[in-house]
Symmetry: C2
Subunit: 414 residues, 2 copies
């Protein structure tokens, strides 16, 4: 099945916003065996009509994003209706939905938003529980146009709509073609992409009959395999054999969600003590619904005085070793463990940059320590490459991962 993506949005071409829709779609479509043939971005405005005229003859499905908002530069709905020769009609139940979203904020719906409730004849409305812009679906008309899905631009509105309204329809279309494959995502933390590929690739190719892909994020690589279930089982066993300590899960959940489950199953409490990550570790843990069953408190100790006051790190220790040191990381973790009265505590101290580096401790140096009751405190130095935010993310991921390994009795040095 041929599929194209059309992104509308001047902000995508002006450099203000990175287009993450394409990678998201690609990732979501892969398990269905659907590949994006071509992707185009155009500015807001009437040019979408010209582009769609080119796209229609060469594809079966078009995913269109953006231009469903209430402002004058949002014209996707009207331009597509015009191109397909459909009239627009006000959908009263949609007006009510939009009104209710404004009411939730204690506000009155501006009249300009009523435009979002205009539905072209023959279009199916795709529900948007998180925003005022409903999506639209035009089933294919032979000889006229392919299947058209129009989705809102903001990722947090687009993603649930894609999951709930688009994927099931595409699945049905693909099943109609008799091409069904399954998919598994093997998430590995703390191993580089090329090292992973070097070790796994020959053996994966030997299993055969699968499509293999790698997706590397900061400090985390997903090995994606697509094929029949028995092959995927073999692939998973292979990864588990080579990387028993680093394979976080095979179900696509985030590292933090996996960690919260691991803690909750064992009824363990975690505390965080953060310097260079500035609260990001605690924030990630509390991204997971139900985090309150494993997390009660965290300390953001950015300054030396804060490390001493809040965590009891001795001032002479800071003076002797410097804030970015193994000794201080250990003292932070043990201080947090004791003061928070938890079962485990994780601490990080490092140099996020751009300033603050020295020859022996350049920007990107970080010490991570994990202290648990009845177990020796573990600490390790890492050297991460990349700018400030990337450094914070890598450090956060590794900190969560070391807690997971420590609790499961896996090798934290792996």
């Amino acid at each position: 099945m041929r599929l194209e993506v059309v992104n509308t949005g001047t902000e995508l071409l002006l450099g203000q916003v990175v287009n993450t829709h394409v990678a998201y779609f690609g990732d979501q479509l892969l398990p269905l065996g659907i590949r994006i043939q071509r992707q185009s971005t155009i500015p807001d405005g009437a040019v979408i009509g010209d582009l769609l005229r080119e796209v229609f003859p060469r594809t079966d499905v078009v995913l269109i994003t953006g231009g469903l908002g209430p402002t004058s530069d949002d014209v996707t709905r009207e331009e597509v209706a015009d191109l397909l020769g459909r009239d627009l009609r006000l959908d009263e139940s949609l007006v009510e939905h939009i009104r209710s979203i404004f009411a939730r904020y204690g506000r009155t719906m501006p009249e300009s938003n009523a435009r979002q409730a205009m539905v072209p004849d023959g279009a199916v409305v795709l529900d948007n529980p998180l925003g005022t812009a409903p999506g639209l679906y035009f089933p294919a008309q032979a000889g006229e146009h392919p299947h058209l899905f129009i989705l809102p631009g903001p990722p947090r509105e687009l993603k649930p709509m894609f999951q709930n309204e688009v994927l099931p329809r595409l699945k049905t279309m693909v099943e109609g073609t008799g091409r069904v494959t399954t998919f598994r995502n093997l998430r590995v933390v703390g191993v580089g992409e090329s090292q992973l590929a070097e070790v796994l690739e020959p053996a994966l190719l030997e299993i055969g009959g699968m499509e293999i892909g790698y997706c590397a994020r900061l400090g985390e690589v997903d090995v994606r395999v697509i094929g029949p279930v028995d092959r995927l089982d073999q692939a998973e066993a292979l990864v588990r054999r080579h990387f028993p300590d680093q394979l976080v899960n095979a179900d696509g959940r985030s590292l933090e969600a996996t960690l919260v489950s691991v803690l909750a199953e064992r009824q363990l409490w975690l505390a965080t003590a953060e310097s260079c990550t500035g609260g990001m570790i605690a924030s990630k843990v509390t991204d997971v619904p139900g985090a309150s069953t494993v997390f009660r408190q965290g300390y953001v100790t950015y300054a030396n005085e804060a490390k001493t006051e809040l965590l009891g790190v001795p001032a002479p220790l800071l003076a002797e070793h410097g804030a970015v040191s193994e000794a201080v990381a250990r003292a932070m973790a043990e201080g947090a463990l004791q003061r928070a009265g938890t079962d485990c505590a994780v601490a990080v101290t490092g140099i996020a940059g751009p300033g603050g580096g020295t020859p022996s401790k350049p920007v990107g140096t970080v010490y991570i320590a994990v202290a648990c009751r009845d177990r020796e405190t573990f600490a390790k130095r890492f050297q991460f490459v990349g700018e400030r935010l990337g450094f914070k993310e890598r450090t956060t991921r590794m900190a969560l991962e070391l807690v997971r390994r420590r609790i499961l009795g896996l090798d934290p040095n792996a």
Copy 2:
């Protein structure tokens, strides 16, 4: 001047890699007044010929990325030469350059890499100090093809080549046309996109002679205006008149960067006390380089006991009002102010969901309090819609914004 971007790379369509080239180009081209008219992504392989045939007639410049590598799926050089009817010749000095790059890593150049030294007739070689793939530039041929720049895919090789080899040439071309426009980004926090548009749109249209766009994120809207400087000044004055308290900046910096500047200029220290955001506010503040001049410590008090122990919130107050209440938000902020010994403290307590809501305090309810020395503590209830992560982001943004308004003496209720 019309410009299009063509990105080649299967990984961009499979969801493995987010395409950051487009945002980078857009950002770099804006000061020259050059807009990307259209951007397309295609897989590796021969399809690039078909796409370029479509693109040539409708543009003055094409920026092509990727497909210059040594492996069999890298065919951009050969396909473009074929399309333009140019022969390829081995450039001996390029072979030497590639050999020297391998030598730097103590390795011998594989013979497959010699392909990268093949240069089409009439093409200008663009130097690549950081990699083995040289870029190529084909000056426009009237009636035949527009200006073509071919750049390597890896961002760390592409960016210096774009800076050194492409931008100067584009600048010369633009100066030839005498068309220079500028750009301003007016960032407004705490006003809905449609409310903003309703108030501003008629007046902005009346100023005229500008292009206007809106980009909404959670709790934040950018009003983008492009045109001559005097028009942009008028637009900025207009936004400032209507939203004096909510206009965060006109320079494109993030809210957190603006807040850190505001604090640093006044030599003020900020502390954070977070329940439902779980550390996200502190993490955002410390995303800004130099945050250590305004931020020393933060408290993540997820559980009631933590609010009492770390911030001194009286247990009876928690029992009487509940953790999600104005009284507790105030007590958290004042406790943080006192214990951290800072000039300001911000506290949030709310219900991120999906569980924990009640009829009087549904999911999305949050109280934000700002306590400053020598000023009455301010607190306000908000009701945000959306899932857990969106709620955390909106709350974080509003918390940062209320601190900014409080320090600048603006109306926090605006």
